[in-house]
């Protein structure tokens, strides 16, 4: 018979594991010969999605730390995504110009 705490532990362990898999899988291509932008695509898997899974896993493990963990989740997703965009734009020799006001 599976109790609720066991189930929560199991789910959070699985989330941590999947997060680690995403991290390793997304970081590995950095060593390869793919183009800069192709590497950024796989890096966004590890950076944004993998880290988010790990933080959600931790959130299940340490529910009383929810304020800091949810802040970490929000900043990781927003920053990593925007950082990927900034790195991509910086790689262009002539970026598209249509600046917002």
């Amino acid at each position: 018979m599976i109790t609720l705490p066991t189930l929560v532990t199991l789910i959070s362990d699985l989330l941590l594991l999947f997060g680690l898999v995403f991290w390793l899988w997304g970081t590995w291509p950095l060593l390869g010969r793919a183009s800069y932008l192709a590497k950024l695509h796989s890096l966004s898997i590890s950076d944004t999605l993998g880290s988010a899974l790990i933080v959600v896993g931790l959130l299940l493990k340490l529910p009383r730390e929810w304020p800091l963990l949810s802040l970490a989740l929000l900043s990781l997703v927003v920053w990593n995504t925007l950082f990927g965009y900034v790195l991509a734009v910086c790689s262009l020799s002539r970026p598209a110009t249509g600046r917002p006001e």
């Binding site: 995504t81 965009y85 598209a96």
Partner: protein
């Protein structure tokens, strides 16, 4: 969106971040957070339709499961073909709308925004299945 509504949302967002950071909802801390939220510089916002912003926020939330779906696609099949594409945008000149649109494109791992074109659409780098 009326400017004062935008201003209120900004204050609420800053206060929310402050409360999460301090994890203390005592009256004094609430007061300090409110003071800080008002004291921080205001962004130069321009009026924008609230429906547009809410629709984009909804799209961002819906894009999260899609992002994981694309990640699993990339894990299971080799995606080696790179392509430049143009994705239409709303054409709004509000910095909040542009931020949300760029975020929406870049959040999903198969597409990265490369910049905004003068007509309001976005140049996008897309990864597709197959070999280069």
């Amino acid at each position: 969106m009326k400017l004062w509504v935008f201003w209120l949302l900004t204050i609420g967002f800053r206060l929310g971040i402050w409360l999460l950071l301090t994890s203390d909802t005592s009256q004094f801390n609430l007061f300090v957070g409110l003071l800080l939220a008002v004291a921080l510089p205001r962004s130069r916002a321009i009026a924008v339709a609230p429906g547009l912003v809410l629709g984009l926020v909804w799209k961002v939330i819906m894009a999260l499961p899609e992002a994981y779906g694309e990640a699993i696609q990339m894990l299971s099949r080799h995606h080696g073909r790179e392509r430049l594409a143009i994705v239409p945008g709303s054409g709004s000149r509000s910095s909040l709308v542009v931020f949300l649109e760029v975020f929406l494109i870049t959040l999903t791992p198969l597409t990265i925004a490369l910049g905004r074109l003068p007509d309001g659409s976005y140049q996008v780098h897309r990864l597709e299945r197959g070999n280069p």
